[in-house]
């Protein structure tokens, strides 16, 4: 063997030994326990934490909120957090099968329970099979938008338009099994109760995917109204935008109007669900596998409570259109179960997607 070859082999061998040594130094043999004592309380500190989210998009609301809070949490609790956008099905599977040692947690929004409620995901992913943690953000921006030249300006007018034009059908672009299906079903139920099934039968679902896919369906003329977030759609409302892609927001799902904006809420248009004004905020929470050590749950709770007061965190979220809103694990569990149960009657009474889908 040449001298050069020997040197290369020596360098490679040393690099291998060094990398093994470094790997040994950084790994957590104690599975989340903090310190040398195996009986010490479990903690995320010093761990690598994989944050799985129920979306595959790295430009969507789930990623943006989760990535923001993960960055702040990583700093506060001194762990190495990484958001993995693996999609709803895989994230739910992870959270019901992963070891409860803090190496994997989930962040997601209301689709966590809506997906199961709508039958998109199996019952074994029901909230009861993992732990609902704290809420760290919410959005009051869910809305429905129509083409700017649509012959109605809000959802109440849309129902009147359908009543006055018995040959017209209105297709609303939504994503199956999520918040948009809930909003669609709620509107459909209200039209059905208020105007009867002849009119409601002409409110059809157009199943689509992400916001940009729904927008393209609207521009194609394949649908008439689309679900989205005000933050994403507001740019298309401007007068400066080409007529071909211009939109108008016909209803927002939050309880009150967005300050400085002229978008009507569902509630003020008289849209009700079960006799109550329809209000829906999309909420983003942490979820843990069942049997997660209480010490980890408590430390994350305490950290998010502090982060939610941090002006920088609030500003970061608001710059993207979200709001910081901490609810403790205990309060969020009660809140989320109640929210799910209050929607179950409407969901159970709604026609299936096959019936609601545009023909």
């Amino acid at each position: 063997m040449s001298k050069k070859g020997k040197i290369v082999k020596l360098v490679l061998a040393l690099a291998l030994v060094a990398s093994l040594f470094l790997t040994g130094c950084t790994s957590n043999g104690d599975n989340g326990s903090n310190g040398d004592n195996g009986e010490a309380e479990a903690s995320l500190t010093g761990q690598r934490v994989r944050v799985v989210i129920g979306s595959t998009s790295t430009g969507g609301d789930t990623y943006l909120t989760s990535d923001t809070v993960t960055r702040y949490l990583s700093e506060k609790l001194d762990f190495n957090g990484k958001v993995d956008a693996i999609g709803a099905s895989r994230a739910l599977e992870e959270i019901v099968t992963t070891e409860p040692n803090g190496e994997t947690i989930m962040m997601f929004h209301d689709m966590t329970y809506l997906g199961v409620a709508f039958g998109a995901y199996e019952d074994r992913y029901a909230l009861e099979n993992f732990i609902v943690g704290p809420r760290f953000a919410y959005s009051q921006l869910s809305c429905l938008a129509a083409s700017a030249d649509a012959p109605y300006n809000d959802l109440a007018e849309l129902a009147e338009y359908l009543e006055a034009n018995p040959n017209e059908v209105v297709k609303i672009a939504i994503e199956a099994g999520g918040v948009s299906q809930l909003v669609f079903n709620s509107y459909y139920s209200w039209v059905d109760e208020t105007y009867g099934d002849e009119v409601s039968s002409r409110v059809r679902a157009f199943i689509s995917g992400s916001t940009d896919e729904k927008a393209q369906a609207l521009w194609d003329g394949n649908c008439d109204v689309m679900f989205g977030d005000v933050t994403a759609l507001e740019q298309y409302v401007s007068e400066d935008v080409d007529a071909q892609i211009r939109m108008k927001i016909v209803g927002i799902t939050s309880g009150e109007r967005i300050p400085g904006k002229d978008y009507k809420t569902f509630a003020e248009q008289g849209i009700t669900l079960g006799g109550e004004p329809f209000v829906f905020d999309k909420e983003y929470s942490v979820f843990y596998p069942a049997d997660m050590p209480q010490s980890i749950i408590d430390e994350v709770d305490a950290a998010i409570a502090e982060i939610a007061e941090d002006p920088a965190y609030i500003e970061d979220l608001e710059s993207m259109g979200f709001r910081a809103g901490y609810l403790s694990t205990e309060d969020n569990q009660e809140h989320m179960y109640q929210k799910r149960d209050s929607l179950m009657e409407m969901i159970n009474n709604s026609p299936s997607l096959d019936e609601l889908t545009a023909e």
Partner: protein, 490 residues
């Protein structure tokens, strides 16, 4: 009006080099590189982030040509057509020449699309909107006609393999009613989203090749011995002589496919290759190491880069899966991309154009000059090379969906499928093209029907659509004629 300094140049170079590595490793893509580096960009301002991310994008798209040419494994889905002529050239001992042609074509395609992005973004965005689900469906059908062109002399097998590929693409959830189809009960969780593209691609190309080589005791030589040495044809810029129209056409097709939101980027090089074959004076040489095929494939897939930014920056709609990640970079910095982006953010817009220009040249220099070293890869004996390839493929497959073990099983399964296809003489490229395009084919078919109340007449109701029908018909008739001619001469 734009930001540029040493830091920007350094991060662009870093991005390009890392992107090339990602593109060159089978199973790792530009999309993955951007997703990994996206959270890091929060620490920098948007301008610096853009240099890094666009470097990763350009490098990632370009790096795929290295394994495609040298070991017949497309590093990225858009490099499939690069293997058709690049690998035969490498087998002739012209690996270095093929790499240089590929890299130069990539640069030309990238610069063409940059010029289009710079000069025509608003009108092209308006045009892109006129392409509804109907036109997108028809363009995908048009791209699929390459199956007929590729299957010359063996058309029925090729078309059968193509349809089998489409069928495989339909495995998983049907979004319109959330029902899972073509999936056995015990795999419902693993296959809810269907088979992932990358493990299927690498399995069919790399693992099946490893199985075949294992059968031959890893003794075969990838380079024809007699052609090694000084007799091998060297690269010269004269290699591009007579390819001016080919470069423009292929770059334009790549850019155009990028502009169309929702049509997979892999379709760009497939469509460009099909048209090069149709317009070629010597179509029979394509697939056997013709430079025009290689030029077409590489100029088209880099033509995609600027094209995919057109709808992103003017409509807020990403042109491909990689630019979809760029939206995250803007959003994390509190900037909305959409129809008002260019007028409201002229500084960022100029930075994007400059960064794309610099990244294209950095890609060229970073790949062109170390080629002598890279091209030695083809002389590494199979028994040493293939274990490394298997390792990289497994790591890539595992990482593609952030750690899904089923993707590794998919890789092995499709390695076996590819091996069996070889045994029964079923061609792999048409199967893969069917698989890549099948999902979009169904989506736009269904969307068109939903929008038209179920009437099939919608596919003949739009002027642009009718033009595409004519192109489809010409492409099929030509392929049939060519097939018949070659059958007669055989």
């Amino acid at each position: 009006m734009f930001e540029f300094g040493m830091l920007h140049l350094a991060v662009a170079l870093l991005g390009v080099v890392i992107g090339i590595i990602f593109g060159a490793i089978p199973g790792m893509t530009a999309t993955m590189a951007l997703a990994i580096f996206l959270p890091l960009t929060y620490a920098y301002d948007l301008h610096v982030s853009l240099y890094l991310l666009l470097g990763l994008y350009v490098g990632g798209i370009s790096g795929g040509l290295i394994p495609a040419i040298l070991i017949n494994i497309p590093g990225t889905p858009s490099s499939i057509t690069t293997t058709f002529d690049g690998y035969p050239m490498a087998q002739r001992g012209e690996g270095e020449r093929a790499l240089r042609i590929g890299i130069t074509s990539s640069l030309l395609g990238g610069l063409f699309s940059l010029a289009v992005l710079w000069l025509f973004t608003p009108p092209l965005a308006r045009m892109a909107i006129k392409f509804s689900a109907v036109e997108k469906f028809l363009i995908i059908v048009f791209a699929m006609t390459v199956i007929a062109a590729l299957s010359k002399g063996n058309m029925s097998r090729g078309i059968f393999a193509g349809f089998l590929g489409v069928l495989t693409a339909l495995v998983g959830t049907f979004n319109d009613n959330n029902m899972i189809r073509l999936v056995p009960e015990f795999l419902r969780v693993e296959l809810i989203y269907g088979f992932s593209l990358l493990p299927v691609l690498i399995g069919l190309f790399a693992i099946s090749q490893v199985f075949e080589e294992a059968e031959a005791c890893m003794l075969s030589n990838r380079v024809t011995g007699s052609l090694l040495g000084n007799k091998v044809r060297k690269f010269s810029f004269k290699d591009f002589k007579g390819n001016f129209i080919n470069i423009i056409r292929s770059s334009a097709i790549g850019t155009f496919m990028g502009i169309l939101p929702g049509v997979g980027g892999s379709a760009a090089s497939i469509l460009a290759y099909a048209q090069t074959k149709n317009f070629s004076k010597k179509p029979e040489e394509l697939g056997k190491g013709a430079t025009e095929g290689l030029i077409s494939s590489e100029s088209a897939n880099n033509g995609l880069t600027g094209g995919a930014l057109v709808p992103l920056l003017s409509l807020g709609i990403p042109g491909d899966s990689t630019t979809a990640i760029l939206i995250g970079a803007f959003m994390l910095q509190g900037i909305q991309v959409g129809p008002l982006f260019i007028t409201q953010n002229p500084g960022i817009w100029n930075t994007i154009l400059l960064a794309l220009l610099i990244c294209n040249f950095l890609m060229f220099f970073a790949m062109f000059f170390p080629i002598k070293l890279i091209s030695k890869l083809i002389t590494v004996p199979n028994c040493r090379l293939y274990p490394i390839i298997i390792l990289m493929c497994v790591v890539g497959a595992y990482a593609i969906n952030s750690g899904v073990m089923f993707d590794v099983w998919t890789l092995l399964l499709f390695g076996l499928v590819g091996y069996l296809f070889g045994k029964i003489k079923l061609p792999i490229p048409p199967y893969l093209i069917g698989f890549i395009l099948g999902g979009d084919l169904e989506k736009y078919f269904i969307d068109s029907l939903k929008g038209a109340g179920g009437s099939l007449g919608v596919f003949f109701s739009r002027p642009i659509g009718n033009v595409i029908w004519v192109l489809i018909a010409i492409s099929i008739i030509y392929a049939l004629y060519d097939n018949r001619k070659s059958a007669k001469t055989a």
